[in-house]
Every structure is written in structure tokens, then in C-alpha cells.
Subunit: 250 residues, 2 copies
């Protein structure tokens, strides 16, 4: 791929047309090289050039300044790769695994989605279902914020009410996070498999999701903030759920 | 203050010289107006103009486009205020209150500091001690990420080793978060008052802090991510600590 086309991958439409995405920075590119993702090409500095660079990968040496002009990061003195997007998981793929899930209802901020992917990876959740209104997983800011976890966690964009009803048919518990009014975390119990559902930064969960929940959970508040950041709330809830054996209090 | 000087408040040196800082966006400015912070001036759109605007505040009507050019936000259709920084708390002020604390060792990212301030506020922590290497609390990106909590949480910049020793002399337990090797969260106990210490995004806690900890705590990992985002880790730990009575497991 020519340099002038790489930066166009910051654009969602171009990513969709090409099926490609940008991976930037030392940690993300190093982890990409060790993964089974298909790499189209790499631009890197002499300092980054790994001795283990696969022979099949087209690699162009550039300066740090060139890396910044080709890509989207303000500073990047190591590498940038163009990789092929993984095929999305279908609903059938997801439920056949029977594993616990994270579900996102209109999470708009790329940093929040990336951080949630990283947190899911820490807690052993490898699949996220996202509403079509959630920011694109392959947005460069999302990929950067995952700190390499984009390689291990799959995000599928599905109509959320249909997907949630499909999960319930397959014996999933739907647990929704609400800033107020839910059962206080610590006084609830939960069966596996579960789907933890988080809402948007501005409006929380959609009403059509709230009415089909098996359980609404609220993180107890001691102070005065109106709400928690969605990725912080997700971390607190996943930690509580992971530490939980079937039907034990969370 | 003239419009052309307002944007200079994005600069730390200018904030220090003037003792002022920028507050932007509807939620933050509305909460500022209801607080006892001293407001130097406000620029706002006709739509924002509150009926309760204090008579003593100099208010200039502007368009949304002007708000963006005066301030630092990419989009702002409501208001921008210039406010006076609160006097910092001394170590004596802090220990005299005897309340639980959050301590930050070189947290560099403004979004992370702002989110930690918001999370502290949710969990009733009103004081943060930060190393001089931590990003400035009055950075506009920090203030934005606090979602109004900058009004209730005070951040004091102190030499961290001295401050931590001072806390220990005043019967504080120093609890440090480490990505690996600490006592697993859930198998530890904690006395109040405590100071929860979080390290930098890249390097975790400094070695000279690690050696004086009363307790190192690690959030158990189930999956493959190398670490958690510092504000997510802070949320999980504060939630565990707040739910904890003296000497109960956390």
C-alpha cells in the first residue's frame, strides 16, 4: 500500500471498502507481528526493525517524522502496520461458545471502547457484542487504547435487542449496569453464562434494553459524582462478576 | 479577560502565572456556577445563558464557533468560564482530616487523571496527593474528564516519598497497586485511614515507593492483557476498599 493511502484508513468508509486497518506504536505492532493476523505492509524505523520480521511482510524503513505523517499518532518512533480485519463472529458463533460476554449499547468514545476491550481481555472475556451505534472497533484510537488486546478480543456489531433476546433463548443472564436504581453490587447473584451490558456515556442503557434485563446492577456510590466513566464501571463490574461463582453474591 | 488571553490558559506556565484555569462545556460550567469557586468571566451562547447567572460575573455572549476558537474543545455549544484555582492543601491540612486518600505516582495522561478524580468523587474520596511528575490538575483535558468532580476533589502536588512517610507517621496504611506480584485483591485486609497509591501508565510504581508500602495489592488476572488502564485499576481498587470495613478482607 502506498503511503498516501495509509492515512485514509483513519476513515471508517475506507476501512470498510478495503477490509484493512491501522496498527500503530511499538507495543501494538510487536504484538501484531506475533499474532496470526494478516499483515499487508509495515512502515518502521531502523530502531524498531525486528530481527524476526517475517519474510512475507513488505517492510519500508522510514523516519519517526514520516511515521507521524503517514499515520494518525502525534508521536510514533517505532512502527505502523496495515493489517486485515478479522471476519466478524455471527450470533451462532457467539452462543455456541457459551462464554460470558460484554455487550455495549452506544459507547461512542474510542478511548472508552479501547479501554473496555483491554479490560475484557484482562478478565478473560474474548467476545464483545456492540450496537451499530457504538464507535467502530477498527478506529485507530480504539486500536491504540486496547494496548494489544485487539488481537485477542472480537467485537461483533449486531442489532442489540435481537441479539439480547437470542442470548436469553440460549440461557444467558442479561445483567445491565445502571448509574442508579439497580440492585446494589454486592447484594446480587448471577448465573453463568452472563452478558454484562453497558450503556452510552451520555444516556446509559436504552429503554428497550432495560425492559428485557434479567437484572439491573448499580455500583454503590459514597460521594457526589453523578456517574462513573463507562470503562471504569465496566472494570468494577467485570472484576465483581469474574470473582463470582455461580449464584454467589456479587 | 480578553478572548485572546483565554486560550493561553491551555498552557501550564500561564495558568501558574495567573492562578486561573479554564472550565468548558455545559455540565462543568453549570456545576461551577453552583459552586463557591471564584469565577473571573464567562463566555456563553444565548442557549446556555442561565437565568441564575450571578450578577457579579462578567458574561459575554458568543456563538458556538467563537467558543471553540476561544477555548480548547473541538465542539462546545454552551459555555466557557475562567475560574480561580483553589489554594492547595498542605500535608498538615491533609492528615488533620484523617480521611482515606488516593495517591498518584507519575500519572501522565490528562484523561486518566480526570477520570481518577471523577472516580474518587464517586467513592467519597475528596483529596488526592500527586507527585510533581503527575499531569497538572488544571490542564483543560483533566478538568473536562472530571465531569464536574474538579469542584469537590482537591489535588495537592507533593514530593511523594516524603508525603508517604508523613502519612505513615500519621497512622495511614500505604496500599500500592502492582500489575503482578502483590497480594491478590480479595485476600488482603486493610485498616483505615489508608492511602491507595497508583503508578504511572508505563512504569507502575516507583521503586522508592514500592519499598515503603505497607501492602502491595494486585487485581487478579484471568486473561492475557499485560495490564489494566490506571483509571480502571483505580476504580476496581477503590470499590473494593470502600466496601471494606476495618480489617475485613478486600
Amino acid at each position: 500500500m502506498q503511503k498516501k493511502h495509509v492515512r485514509k484508513l483513519a476513515n471508517k468508509k475506507y476501512r470498510k471498502e478495503t477490509g484493512l486497518f491501522l496498527v500503530q506504536g511499538e507495543k501494538n505492532v510487536s504484538e501484531l507481528l506475533a499474532s496470526d493476523f494478516v499483515i499487508e505492509c509495515i512502515f518502521c524505523t531502523q530502531e524498531f526493525l525486528p530481527t524476526t520480521m517475517p519474510h512475507s511482510v513488505s517492510c519500508t524503513l522510514v523516519t519517526a517524522a514520516e511515521l507521524c505523517s503517514i499515520g494518525t499518532l502525534e508521536s510514533n518512533d517505532s512502527a505502523l502496520a496495515v493489517a486485515r480485519q478479522a471476519p466478524p463472529l455471527s450470533m451462532a458463533d457467539i452462543v455456541s461458545k457459551g462464554r460470558n460476554l460484554l455487550v455495549l449499547d452506544s459507547v461512542r468514545d474510542p478511548g472508552n471502547l479501547g479501554t473496555l476491550v483491554r479490560t475484557a481481555d484482562w478478565f478473560g472475556i474474548d467476545t464483545i457484542i456492540a450496537s451499530p451505534t457504538t464507535v467502530d472497533f477498527y478506529n485507530p484510537k480504539v486500536i491504540a487504547a486496547t494496548m494489544g488486546s485487539f488481537l485477542r478480543v472480537k467485537v461483533s456489531y449486531l442489532e442489540l435487542v435481537d441479539a439480547c433476546r437470542g442470548l436469553q433463548k440460549n440461557k444467558y443472564s442479561l445483567i445491565g449496569a445502571t448509574a442508579a436504581g439497580g440492585t446494589p453490587l454486592g447484594n446480587t447473584s448471577c448465573n453463568s453464562p452472563y452478558a454484562l451490558i453497558l450503556g452510552s456515556e451520555s444516556h446509559g442503557l436504552s429503554q428497550d434494553i432495560v425492559i428485557i434485563l434479567d437484572q439491573a446492577v448499580t455500583i454503590p456510590r459514597v460521594g457526589a459524582a453523578e456517574s462513573l466513566n463507562v470503562s471504569v464501571a465496566g472494570g468494577i463490574l467485570l472484576h465483581a462478576l469474574i470473582g463470582n461463582n455461580n449464584t454467589a453474591p456479587i
